[in-house]
C-alpha cells in the first residue's frame, strides 16, 4: 500500500502573534492535558486509516507544539509511536518556537523519535520581532537553536518571514544573513500575508486610513521591494549552498522536507487534532475547529453522557461511512466539519497548481498514469499561453515554473482551475 503522512495539530501558543490566522490560542495546562487526551483518542479511532501503511513522515505543527508540558509531550509522542507504524526512515518533524524549549524537553522529543525541528524564527531583528508580536528575541533564537544542536538534532529548519512592516532590503538581508550563519539544513523563506481576522489586518487597514490623512505610518513593503527581497533571498541562499525546491522552501542537498513535498505531490495524509485537514484517496476532510466541542467528543471521563448522545446521533449518519474502504470513518465518531469528495477535474486542478509549486514540477508521465489522459489534452491551450508568456517551461517530461513563473505563481496556478 501507498505510504501515508501524519499531521498532528497543537492549537496552543503562549500569545497570539499579530499576523497569525492559524487555529491557535493561549490555553491553561488543564485544557492542554484534556486536549492531548482527546487527541490520543482520535488517533486510536483513526488508526485503521494508516493500518498496514508505511508512515513516511509525521509533522507536529501548531500553534507552538513545544508549549506542551514535558508530561503531555511524552504522552503524545509515545501514543504516536504506539498507534502508528513509524520506521527508521520516517521524517518526524516538530515545530518549535525559540524560547519555548528546554534541554529536557528536546531530549525527550529526540528520544521519542523526533528527528527534525522547525523553528519559527521569522526574523533575526528584534525590532521586527516586536512588530510581529513575537514573544522571543533574536538572542532567544540563537540560544534555542544551539540547545537543539547540543541535544543532537541534525536536521533543523528555520522559518524566515519577509515583507514585514517597515522592512527594507537591507534589514531583511541582515536578518537572513544571521539565519544562514547558524547553518541550518533547511530554510523556509516566505512573505507575510495580511489575513482577514488577524490583529494585523485591522492595524494595517488603520494604517492605510491614517496614511490617507497624511499621517506617518509604518507601511508594508510594496510589490517592488517584495520582488527585490525574493531575488535577494534566492541569491543569498543559493550562494550559501541552499537550493530552492519549492516556492518558499530552500534546503541543503538531500534535506528537502519530505512532508512538505508530500502536500504538493498530493500524497495521502491524515490530519489529527483540532481543525486538521486530511487527504485520503479521493476525499479531503477538515476537522471541527471548536476546542470545547472537540474535547467533549473525545474526552470520555469528562463527558460520558454527551458522548453517548453524540455516538447515537452519529451512528445513523455514519452507517454508510462505517464501511468506507479507506477506513478514515470507520469510527462511530465523526469530527469532520467539512468533507469534500474530489472529482477527477478537482484532482487534475490540484495536481497542477500544487505540483507546479515544486521546482521539479509536474511529471507528464505521472499525470498520464494517474488520469489516463495526457496533460496536454486537458490543458494544452493554457500551457501554450503560459509558455508564450514565459511563465512555464517543459524539460525532460516535466512542466515547471520558469524564474518569472515563480515570481508570479498565482497567475499560473489560477490558470489551471476549471470554470
Amino acid at each position: 500500500m501507498e505510504d501515508i503522512m501524519l499531521y498532528v495539530h497543537i492549537p496552543f501558543c503562549v500569545k497570539k502573534c499579530l499576523y497569525c490566522d492559524f487555529l491557535s490560542a493561549p490555553a491553561d495546562g488543564e485544557s492542554q492535558s484534556l486536549y492531548v487526551d482527546s487527541l490520543i483518542r482520535e488517533m486510536e479511532q483513526k488508526s485503521l486509516v494508516a493500518k498496514g501503511r508505511n508512515i513516511s513522515s509525521v509533522f507536529i505543527g501548531g500553534g507552538t507544539p513545544t508549549i506542551l508540558s514535558d508530561a503531555n509531550m511524552k504522552k503524545l509522542l509515545e501514543a504516536i509511536n504506539n498507534i502508528y507504524k513509524l520506521s527508521e526512515n520516517t521524517e518526524f518533524t516538530c515545530e518549535a518556537n525559540p524560547g519555548t524549549v528546554t534541554k529536557e524537553k528536546l531530549m525527550l522529543m529526540r528520544k521519542n523519535g523526533i528527528n527534525r525541528l522547525s523553528f519559527g524564527v521569522q526574523s533575526m531583528d528584534d525590532e521586527e520581532l516586536k512588530l510581529l508580536g513575537r514573544i522571543h528575541s533574536a538572542a532567544d533564537a540563537f540560544e534555542s537553536y544551539k540547545m537543539a544542536r547540543e541535544c543532537g538534532f541534525e536536521n533543523i529548519n528555520l522559518d524566515i518571514m519577509s515583507s514585514l512592516p517597515g522592512q527594507s532590503e537591507v534589514s531583511y538581508a541582515k536578518s537572513l544573513e544571521k539565519a544562514i550563519s547558524m547553518n541550518p539544513e533547511h530554510i523556509s523563506a516566505y512573505s507575510l500575508i495580511i489575513e482577514e481576522g488577524t490583529q494585523f489586518y485591522e492595524k494595517y487597514h488603520e494604517d492605510v486610513l491614517k496614511c490617507s490623512k497624511g499621517e506617518k505610518t509604518i507601511f508594508l513593503p510594496d510589490e517592488d521591494v517584495e520582488y527585490a527581497i525574493t531575488k535577494l533571498t534566492e541569491k543569498m541562499l543559493g550562494e550559501a549552498g541552499y537550493h530552492r525546491y519549492e516556492v518558499s522552501n530552500f534546503a541543503k542537498e538531500g534535506r528537502e522536507c519530505r512532508h512538505n513535498c508530500g502536500y504538493w505531490l498530493r500524497r495521502d495524509y491524515l490530519g489529527l487534532g483540532l481543525g486538521a485537514a486530511s487527504l485520503i484517496g479521493h476525499t479531503r476532510y477538515k476537522n471541527i475547529s471548536d476546542l470545547s466541542e472537540y474535547i467533549s467528543i473525545y474526552n470520555t471521563a469528562a463527558n460520558t453522557d454527551k458522548k453517548d448522545t453524540l455516538l447515537r446521533e452519529n451512528s445513523i449518519a455514519t452507517t454508510e461511512n462505517a464501511v468506507h474502504e479507506n477506513g478514515v470513518e470507520t469510527s462511530n465518531i465523526s469530527t469532520y466539519e467539512n468533507r469534500e469528495e474530489l472529482t477527477v477535474m478537482n484532482e487534475m486542478e490540484e495536481t497542477m497548481f500544487l505540483g507546479l509549486r515544486l521546482v521539479s514540477g509536474v511529471s507528464e508521465k505521472r499525470f498520464y498514469e494517474k488520469f489516463g489522459v495526457e496533460v496536454t489534452e486537458v490543458y494544452g491551450e493554457r500551457i501554450r499561453k503560459l509558455t508564450e508568456q514565459g511563465l512555464i517551461k517543459k524539460e525532460n517530461g516535466f512542466f515547471s515554473l520558469t524564474d518569472r513563473g515563480f515570481d508570479l505563481g498565482n497567475n499560473v496556478f489560477s490558470c489551471f482551475l476549471f470554470d
Binding site: 499531521y7 495539530h9 492559524f22 505543527g61 523556509s188 516566505y190 512573505s191 507575510l192 500575508i193 510589490e223 517592488d224 517584495e226 520582488y227 525574493t230 516556492v247 518558499s248 522552501n249 502536500y263 495524509y269 490530519g271 481543525g275 486538521a276 485537514a277 486530511s278 487527504l279 479531503r284 477538515k286 467539512n338 469534500e340 486542478e349 490540484e350 497548481f353 500544487l354 508568456q389 511563465l391 515563480f406 515570481d407 508570479l408 505563481g409 498565482n410 497567475n411 496556478f413 489560477s414 482551475l417
Partner: protein, 603 residues
C-alpha cells in the same frame, strides 16, 4: 358622502433642502391622527428607503388627512410633499399644479436660501397662495426675527403672523393647521361640469396596473366611466377611484372637482399615461385640455451598462418602469466596444443621475457600470446642419465641424460673507462669468455667475460645500448655448482607444483633465504581466501618459497543515476577480475604473 368643496384644502410644503419639510409633514399627519403611533415612522411620506437614508424627498407623495378646526369644523387636507433639490424642480412643478396653496418652510437659523427663492417663484408661477412658517426655532442659533424680516424683504410676502414652530418637537404645529384653514383657499370648480382632471404623477403597481394621480379641476370621476387621455388619445374604463391614505390607497365612490386622488383603469401600456395630460369624459368631454407642464429636457447624459452583459434586458425593463413616473429620465440603446450593450441615459442633473443609478441597483438588483457624465453639445457642421451631441463617440471628424456650442447655466449661490472669496475663486476656476453680487443681509451674499454646465456636473456641488464649510447653497437654470472651444479627449490603454472613457472637454482644460485621468486610471488598473501605457490624446496627439508597470511578484506563500481547500479558494477568488473585469484588447480593466473618472476633481 358628499364632499363640501369649501372644506377642502390642497396644499404642498416647499422648502430649501434640510429646512424640515418632511418633518413638518410628519407632524401634520401625526397631529391629525391619520396614522396610529405604531404606523408612524419618521418621514412618512418619504417611503423609498433611499429617501429616508439620504433625508431627501425624491418623488412627490400625497396624503389625505382629516382636520377638525378650532371652530369645530372638519376639513379634508390633501398634502402633497415635494422634493427640495434643484434637480427635481420639475417634480415640484408637477405637484404644485395639483395644489391651491403652499406652506413655505424657512429654517430659523439658515434663513432664506437659493432654493427657497426658486421654490417660491415656482409656487407663484402656479398662482398659489404662499403661507410662510419659520421652523427650527428651538435651535440655539435660531434668529426668528431676522428670518421673518428676511422673508418679507427678500421674498416680499407678509410673514408677520408666520407660525414659529419646531417640527422636531411639535411646537406650535396647531397654529400651522389653523392657518392652513384660514390662509389657503378652498378649491374651485363645478362638480357637474364635464370632467377635466390633471395627471400629476403615476406609478406602476403589479396588481392594479398603472395608478394615475390626478387633481380633479372640473366635473367628477367615478368607476365605470369611459375616460380619455387628451394628449395620447387613449380611452379606458375607470375601475377604481380613491384617495391617498398614508402609505396606502383607499378606494372611494367618486372624486369631485377640487379633490386630489387617484384612479386605475385597465391600462396595459404605460406609455399611454403621460404626466401633465388631461383626463376627460368620453361621453361628455371638456372643451380644452389643461395647460399641463413645461416639458423637461435632460441636461446630463451618461452611458449606463449592466455589469453582467446578460442583464441587458433587465436593465431595459427597469428603466422603462422608472420612466413611468419620471418623465425626465430618457434613454436609448447604445453599444460600446469596452462595455458592450447598454443605454445612453439623460438626466436632469448629477443628483438625478445618482438617484436613478441607486434605484436601479436597489429596487431592481442590478449591478451597473456608468461612464463619465456629459452635457448636450451643439455641433454645427460645415454643411450648415446642427447635431445635438450626447455621446462623445459620435463627434464628427474635426474637418466636418464648423464650431461647437455648450450649454451655460445661470447659477445663483448664496453664501456667508466669510466664504465669498473662496466661492468666487471656485467659479472662476470653472470658467464662470461673473454677473452680480448682492448682500441680502450684512453677512450673506447672493452671487450670480454664468457657468458652463459641463463644469458643474462633476463635483461642483461637493467643491462648493467643502470650500464654504457647508454654508453655500446653489441653484441654477439653463440659460442657453454659447460658442466654445471644445475637444474630444480620448484615452488609450495599451495603445487601444477605450470608447467608454472618451469625453468632451474645454480645450484649455484638456491637458489637466487628461493628466488626472491617466493618474487615476493608473491607480485603478492592476498590474498585468506586461507594462501598460495609459495615454490621453486629443485629435490623435498624446497629451499625457502614465504607465502601469508589469507585475513582479504575486505568489502565495507557504501552505499550512495541508489545508489545500483554502488555498484553492484564494486562487478561485483571484480568477473570479479577473472575470468581473472588462477586457479591452489584452488589458483587463476593473469596472470601477470606468466610474473613477467621475471623481476626477477630488483633491
Amino acid at each position: 358622502m358628499s364632499i363640501d368643496q369649501s372644506r377642502i384644502r390642497n396644499f404642498c410644503i416647499i422648502a430649501h433642502i434640510d429646512h424640515g419639510k418632511s418633518t413638518l409633514a410628519d407632524r401634520i399627519i401625526e397631529k391629525t391622527g391619520t396614522l396610529t403611533d405604531r404606523e408612524m415612522q419618521s418621514q412618512v411620506l418619504d417611503n423609498m428607503d433611499l429617501e429616508r437614508e439620504r433625508g431627501i424627498t425624491i418623488k412627490s407623495q400625497a396624503v389625505r388627512i382629516i382636520y377638525k378646526s378650532k371652530a369645530g369644523e372638519e376639513y379634508i387636507f390633501n398634502l402633497i410633499d415635494t422634493p427640495g433639490h434643484v434637480d427635481f424642480n420639475y417634480e415640484v412643478s408637477r405637484s404644485l399644479a395639483a395644489c391651491d396653496g403652499a406652506i413655505l418652510v424657512v429654517d430659523a437659523a439658515q434663513g432664506v436660501e437659493a432654493q427657497t427663492l426658486g421654490n417660491v417663484y415656482l409656487a407663484l408661477d402656479h398662482d398659489l397662495d404662499v403661507m410662510p412658517v419659520i421652523n427650527k426655532v428651538d435651535l440655539p442659533s435660531a434668529m426668528p426675527d431676522e428670518v421673518e424680516k428676511e422673508i418679507e424683504d427678500v421674498i416680499g410676502i407678509d410673514a408677520s403672523d408666520a407660525p414659529r414652530i419646531s417640527a422636531k418637537t411639535g411646537l406650535n404645529i396647531d397654529d400651522v393647521l389653523e392657518q392652513i384653514v384660514t390662509k389657503i383657499p378652498a378649491p374651485t370648480g363645478d362638480k357637474t361640469a364635464p370632467l377635466q382632471a390633471l395627471i400629476f404623477d403615476a406609478l406602476y403597481d403589479s396588481y392594479k396596473g398603472v395608478i394615475v394621480f390626478i387633481r380633479v379641476k372640473e366635473g367628477t370621476i367615478k368607476p365605470g366611466m369611459q375616460i380619455k387621455m387628451m394628449a395620447t388619445g387613449a380611452t379606458e374604463e375607470v375601475i377604481e377611484v380613491g384617495y391617498f391614505g398614508a402609505g396606502q390607497f383607499i378606494p372611494c365612490d367618486e372624486l369631485p372637482a377640487g379633490m386630489v386622488g387617484y384612479f386605475t383603469a385597465s391600462i396595459k401600456e404605460v406609455r399611454k399615461t403621460q404626466v401633465g395630460d388631461t383626463v376627460t369624459d368620453v361621453a361628455n368631454p371638456c372643451a380644452e385640455p389643461l395647460p399641463g407642464y413645461k416639458k423637461v429636457n435632460p441636461m446630463v447624459y451618461c452611458g449606463v451598462y449592466p455589469a453582467d452583459s446578460a442583464k441587458y434586458g433587465d436593465l431595459r425593463d427597469a428603466l422603462e418602469k422608472l420612466q413611468i413616473n419620471d418623465a425626465a429620465l430618457q434613454f436609448e440603446p447604445e453599444t460600446s466596444l469596452a462595455l458592450g450593450f447598454g443605454f445612453r441615459c439623460g438626466f436632469l442633473g448629477l443628483l438625478h443621475l445618482e438617484i436613478i443609478q441607486e434605484r436601479l441597483e436597489r429596487e431592481f438588483g442590478l449591478d451597473l457600470v456608468t461612464t463619465a457624465p456629459g452635457v448636450v453639445y451643439h455641433v454645427h457642421k460645415t454643411d450648415g446642419t446642427m447635431m445635438e451631441l450626447t455621446n462623445p463617440s459620435n463627434l464628427p471628424d474635426p474637418s466636418e465641424i464648423d464650431f461647437m456650442e455648450e450649454p451655460v447655466v445661470a447659477a445663483e449661490i448664496m453664501v456667508t460673507s466669510d466664504y465669498v472669496g473662496a466661492i468666487m475663486t471656485l467659479c472662476q476656476e470653472r470658467r464662470g462669468v461673473y454677473k452680480s453680487m448682492e448682500y441680502i443681509e450684512e453677512t450673506r451674499a447672493l452671487i450670480k455667475y454664468d457657468m458652463p454646465l459641463n463644469e458643474i456636473i462633476y463635483d461642483f456641488f461637493d467643491a462648493l460645500k467643502s470650500r464654504s464649510r457647508g454654508y453655500a447653497s446653489f441653484d441654477y437654470e439653463l440659460k442657453g448655448y454659447v460658442k466654445s472651444e471644445l475637444v474630444k479627449l480620448d484615452i488609450l490603454i495599451n495603445r487601444e482607444q477605450v470608447d467608454a472613457l472618451s469625453f468632451i472637454v474645454f480645450k484649455g482644460s484638456a491637458y489637466e483633465r487628461g493628466r488626472r485621468m491617466c493618474e487615476r486610471l493608473k491607480e485603478e488598473i492592476p498590474r498585468h504581466l506586461f507594462e501598460i501605457p495609459i495615454q490621453a490624446a486629443v485629435g490623435g496627439k498624446i497629451i499625457a501618459r502614465e504607465t502601469v508597470r508589469a507585475m513582479r511578484k504575486d505568489v502565495l506563500a507557504k501552505c499550512y497543515g495541508g489545508d489545500i481547500s483554502r488555498k484553492k479558494k484564494l486562487l478561485e477568488k483571484q480568477k473570479e476577480g479577473k472575470k468581473r473585469m472588462r477586457q479591452v484588447g489584452s488589458v483587463e480593466i476593473p469596472q470601477e475604473a470606468f466610474m473613477s473618472v467621475l471623481k476626477l476633481d477630488e483633491e
